[in-house]
């Protein structure tokens, strides 16, 4: 039955295929270092630029070239795009999009402001953030908060088509960017805190017609898993790989949304992404019929799907039966590195759960899974012995299991906190050092799950938590680290006062850029993290640093505008459990450092 469905899905895909391949254009355009056409730089998500005019010797001389106010106060995630002489700047809800003329210091060429029902605002769990549009083939693909996907003429801002991907009344919203691949645009969905059943959908890039949709959980023909051909840890997943890991119909409100990033490998024609937490946050309500943990596939998983058909080639679940809200949505970075003496085509992923994973991106084989924050304590590690029945599974430490501690009981001192050792803020990879540069959170939590009931379009959480800076460390809430993904080791680590919630950029100038929540844009040496430059922008940075070149001059740009989960969790400062009852210890409140306001800062050498 499901076989038939899979076959017809691929037939449909073939019928829609056209010779004009958007990814040819994306490949060509993203190969030009003077541009930035996808949010993550290019299909590999490496966030690396070959531009080298700004380098480790002269970066200290950077000055502001020009700035631009977005007119919106909420948290600004993502980055501007640059295509030719035009820069595209997006905002959080109402998702305004500006096209700025680089030949005239950012004069506004056109502005697109969608009309959206404000009812979508409160169903976005943690601020109305948006990680930005993408460019392909003369078109800007813009995915609004209310899940309307619109294709705009890149030159004029005129609508070519639009389509609605989800229903905000059920808590379905969008915060993610999109990925144009071939003749399709791949989009995700947010709302696991509202019991949304997650999915990824491909739309025809010329018409907006839906080509395929793959749910994260449910029957095989809806998750587009082939029981015999879709692999996990070297074995076929088998029949009902998702359904048999849920009790009753909980999967219908089971979360596993796809609100992170997509990457694409043209050799294998695979699209990679991660899935979010199972709903609710109370694991007892998701236990198996026997009262024991049950996996809840394919939440918390890395999934590799064929771009044309959506059928999964492989999947790997990082945190089976989540008990801490460790969404698996963070970016998948594709790189070719040497692991144990062998050149490998890998996928590297820094998960919320605090483990840095290196997998073979062709087969899904697990190569490395190590902690990228030494304070991570919920697991003793992942079993790497292929002959063990526990192969590939993280071993949960009883003391930090919110399920074993139980409903209505407080599990103390779990590291990392629900916001993860790293959230969506993307890391960068430099082929010159073979290191990954990772913005991280250094925050732990107490977590108490309890019973909740489901109402469509209402929060469906079921746990209370308090967060604090990792105890017994430097007292700060973040680190910016360099990671060796072949060894699974931290190369260097630079402490930060607040969580680092900004995407990194590595360049051929031997430097790495990132932003801080106080609002600094910083440049550090790729070799050892030495700080070479910092400048305080108008507001806290949760956006991602990008670079481009115009008329032969290199520029570095970043959106500031504090908000997002970081702005919510850290505005008032965290409590220090060691200082006794609720004292606010020495930990800084973000609101003492920065205030709301979206603006773009563009830097260059004098």
């Amino acid at each position: 039955m499901h076989r038939h469905a899979l076959a017809s899905a691929s037939l449909a895909a073939f019928a829609f295929a056209t010779p004009a391949m958007a990814n040819e254009d994306v490949l060509q355009q993203s190969a030009r270092p003077e541009q930035w056409v996808l949010q993550t730089g290019n299909y590999t998500n490496q966030r690396y630029s070959k531009l080298a005019q700004i380098n480790r010797d002269n970066v200290k001389n950077l000055k502001v070239a020009w700035t631009f106010s977005t007119g919106v106060l909420r948290g600004h995630e993502g980055a501007p795009l640059v295509v030719g002489n035009i820069m595209y700047v997006h905002t959080p809800f109402p998702n305004t999009l500006y096209a700025l003329d680089l030949n005239e210091d950012g004069k506004i060429l056109w502005k697109y402001e969608p009309k959206q029902n404000p009812d979508v605002i409160p169903v976005m769990c943690c601020d109305t953030v948006y990680r930005g549009p993408a460019y392909a083939d003369g078109t800007i693909y813009h995915h609004q908060a209310d899940t309307t996907l619109v294709a705009l003429d890149a030159k004029t801002g005129k609508e070519k088509w639009k389509v609605v991907n989800g229903d905000p009344k059920k808590g379905e919203t969008n915060t993610a960017t999109v990925l144009p691949v071939k003749d399709k645009v791949i989009v995700g969905i947010s709302g696991a805190e509202f019991g949304v059943r997650g999915h990824v959908t491909a739309y025809d890039s010329k018409t907006g017609k839906q080509v395929w949709r793959a749910y994260s959980l449910g029957p095989d023909n809806e998750i587009l898993f082939d029981p015999d051909k879709t692999m996990s840890l070297g074995k076929p997943v088998g029949k009902d790989s998702s359904l048999k890991t849920w009790t009753g119909e909980q999967w219908k409100i089971g979360g596993g949304t796809a609100w992170g990033w997509f990457s694409y490998d043209q050799e294998t024609n695979l699209v990679f992404y991660g899935t979010a937490n199972p709903s609710t946050w109370n694991p007892a309500q998701r236990a198996g019929a026997d009262g024991k943990p049950i996996d809840q596939k394919w939440t918390m998983a890395i999934i590799a799907r064929d771009a044309d058909t959506g059928v999964a080639k492989w999947a790997y679940q990082m945190t089976p039966f989540d008990e801490w809200d460790y969404d698996g949505v963070n970016e998948m970075i594709l790189a070719d590195i040497t692991v144990q003496g062998q050149p490998r085509k890998v996928l590297v992923h820094f998960d919320r759960n605090g483990l840095g994973y290196t997998l073979d991106r062709v087969t899904g084989e697990l190569l490395v899974a190590n902690k990228f924050d030494p304070k991570v304590n919920w697991t003793s590690g992942v079993v790497m012995d292929k002959n063990s029945p526990q192969y590939g599974r993280p071993q949960v430490v009883k003391e930090y299991s919110t399920f074993q501690t139980g409903q209505d009981k407080n599990t103390k001192g779990v590291c990392p906190a629900a916001l993860g050792s790293k959230d969506q803020q993307p890391a960068a990879f430099s082929p010159s050092t073979n290191l990954f540069y990772v913005p991280t959170n250094h925050v732990c939590m107490d977590y108490e799950p309890f019973r909740v009931s489901y109402t469509a379009g209402q929060p469906y959480v079921g746990a209370t938590l308090s967060m604090f800076a990792a105890p017994g460390s430097h007292g700060g809430m973040g680190n910016f680290i360099a990671w060796d993904a072949a060894q699974g080791k931290i190369a260097w680590s630079k402490p930060e006062k607040f969580s680092v919630w900004s995407g990194a950029l590595a360049t051929a100038g031997g430097i790495v850029f990132y932003g801080t929540l106080e609002g600094y844009i910083k440049a550090v040496d790729e070799k050892d993290g030495t700080e070479l430059f910092k400048f305080k922008t108008p507001s806290g940075i949760i956006g991602n640093v990008m670079t481009y070149s115009h008329n032969g001059k290199q520029y570095v740009a970043v959106l500031s505008g504090v908000g997002g989960w970081a702005g919510i969790g850290l505005a008032a400062g965290l409590t220090n459990p060691n200082d006794g009852l609720g004292a606010v210890g020495g930990y800084a409140g973000l609101r003492d450092y920065t205030a709301l306001g979206g603006s773009l800062t563009v830097l260059t050498l004098p």
């Binding site: 404000p118 409160p122 919510i568 008032a572 409590t575 009852l581």
Partner: protein
């Protein structure tokens, strides 16, 4: 249009909660009495109690839990506010229970030149509706400065009345 919606939702909320507090005329948080583990001001608003050894009443503790499940993702930890939504510790200093209940049940929209914010109507959400008093007294305890930030260290046991009310409110438990 909006007012009509509000009014009917308000009636719904009040009927739903059948609260004795909606009729209260004046606020007075200094005098209070206990009825089956639940504390009430002389003016008839629900309130918190913190014993001399720091033990909080059940409802204040319950409010702490529910707040940090349903409310803190917008309003920040401990009612302190966030970059996204205002601090409720400030708001409830002057807000009577009836007004609090109304806003939570029916929502609130603020449209200004510089921002548009929208609080959802949570009256349909059993996880909020069944604990409205709890959340209010928790925030009151925080607002008056009696309860510091973080998890209350000690709490009273759950009264039978709370158990019973919870079951009735959820309908299925």
């Amino acid at each position: 249009m909006k007012r009509a919606g509000f009014a009917s939702a308000m009636v719904g909320a009040i009927v739903l909660l059948s609260s004795p507090y909606a009729m209260a005329e004046t606020a007075n948080t200094t005098e209070k009495k206990e009825i089956a583990g639940k504390w009430v001001t002389a003016a008839g608003d629900p309130t918190y109690n913190i014993a001399s050894d720091g033990t909080v009443d059940w409802y204040t503790f319950s409010g702490f839990r529910r707040y940090h499940s349903e409310c803190h993702t917008c309003h920040g930890p401990d009612g302190e506010g966030s970059s996204y939504a205002p601090g409720l510790v400030e708001s409830v200093k002057t807000m009577r229970y009836a007004d609090f209940m109304l806003i939570v049940a029916t929502g609130r929209e603020v449209v200004r030149a510089d921002k548009q914010s929208k609080m959802p109507a949570l009256g349909d959400n059993a996880n909020v509706r069944c604990y409205l008093e709890d959340i209010y007294v928790y925030l009151k305890a925080r607002a008056d400065g009696g309860l510091p930030r973080g998890r209350p260290a000690k709490r009273a046991d759950k009264p039978e009345a709370a158990e019973k009310q919870e079951k009735e409110c959820f309908g299925d438990r």
